[in-house]
């Protein structure tokens, strides 16, 4: 069964620090790796995604780094803010490219 292994499960960072979340994937049929952000009481929303014709994608304070040989990708949040406190999910497409399999989630808390 396809799995996406995400770590850590929870993370506490001081305001202004760097938050790093890692994911290891299995399926290589589709090169598309998104991160979703979920606030309490809300559904997840796409934060940033990478198509690995590049090894890194940056949008503002959020960066995805991709390591194809290691089958890993990570999310870096620079200058973390209390408003970034949320649960973050990585995901990968299934073999048919029809749906996403999500990691177990990382609960991030950014302390003021």
């Amino acid at each position: 069964q396809q799995q996406v292994k995400q770590s850590p499960q929870s993370l506490i960072v001081q305001k202004g620090g760097i938050s790093i979340i890692n994911c290891a994937y299995e399926n290589t049929a589709f090169d598309y790796f998104p991160w979703y952000q979920q606030f309490p009481g809300k559904g997840p929303a796409l934060l940033i995604a990478i198509r690995p014709d590049v090894s890194e994608k940056k949008e503002g304070r959020f960066t995805i780094s991709f390591n194809k040989s290691a089958k890993q990708f990570s999310l870096h949040i620079m200058d973390s803010q209390p408003g970034d406190s949320a649960t973050y999910f990585c995901a990968e497409p299934d073999n048919a490219g029809n749906m996403l399999t999500f990691g177990g989630g990382t609960r991030l808390m950014v302390k003021p």
């Binding site: 589709f30 559904g43 497409p93 299934d94 048919a96 490219g97 029809n98 749906m99 996403l100 399999t101």
Partner: protein, 116 residues
């Protein structure tokens, strides 16, 4: 509406009762997905629709779970003879085309089900 709409937002039921959860996707989105999120846990895939057909039902936990989609739009997830382990937030998402694999999923806010 502009986003994915789910109802009810909260449902409390007694063990053994049947429940229906509704999802109204974004207009024009052909793909629709149901996921389940238990307290503090990840997103568990349940079922996927492309139009009115469900090519992938592999995630449904048991035969007590069923789902349908009519008119390529609204979907209903039905849980028969509910059990306490069914308590979770049921999330619906939609996408344009088979966006789940290579594009963006748009999620609703979920239906929180509590089985007493």
């Amino acid at each position: 509406g502009a986003g994915v709409s789910q109802s009810p937002s909260n449902k409390v039921t007694e063990k053994g009762k049947d429940v229906e959860l509704r999802c109204d996707p974004i207009s024009g989105h052909t793909a629709l997905y149901w996921y389940r999120q238990s307290l503090g846990q990840g997103l568990e895939f349940l079922i996927y629709f492309q139009g009115n057909s469900a090519p992938d039902k592999s995630g449904l936990p048991s035969d007590r779970f069923s789902a349908e989609r009519t008119g390529g739009s609204v979907s209903t997830l039905t849980i028969q003879r509910t059990q306490q382990e069914d308590s979770a937030v049921y999330l619906c998402a939609s996408s344009f085309g088979a966006g789940g694999g290579t594009g963006e999923l748009f999620f609703g806010e979920g239906s929180r089900l509590t089985v007493l």
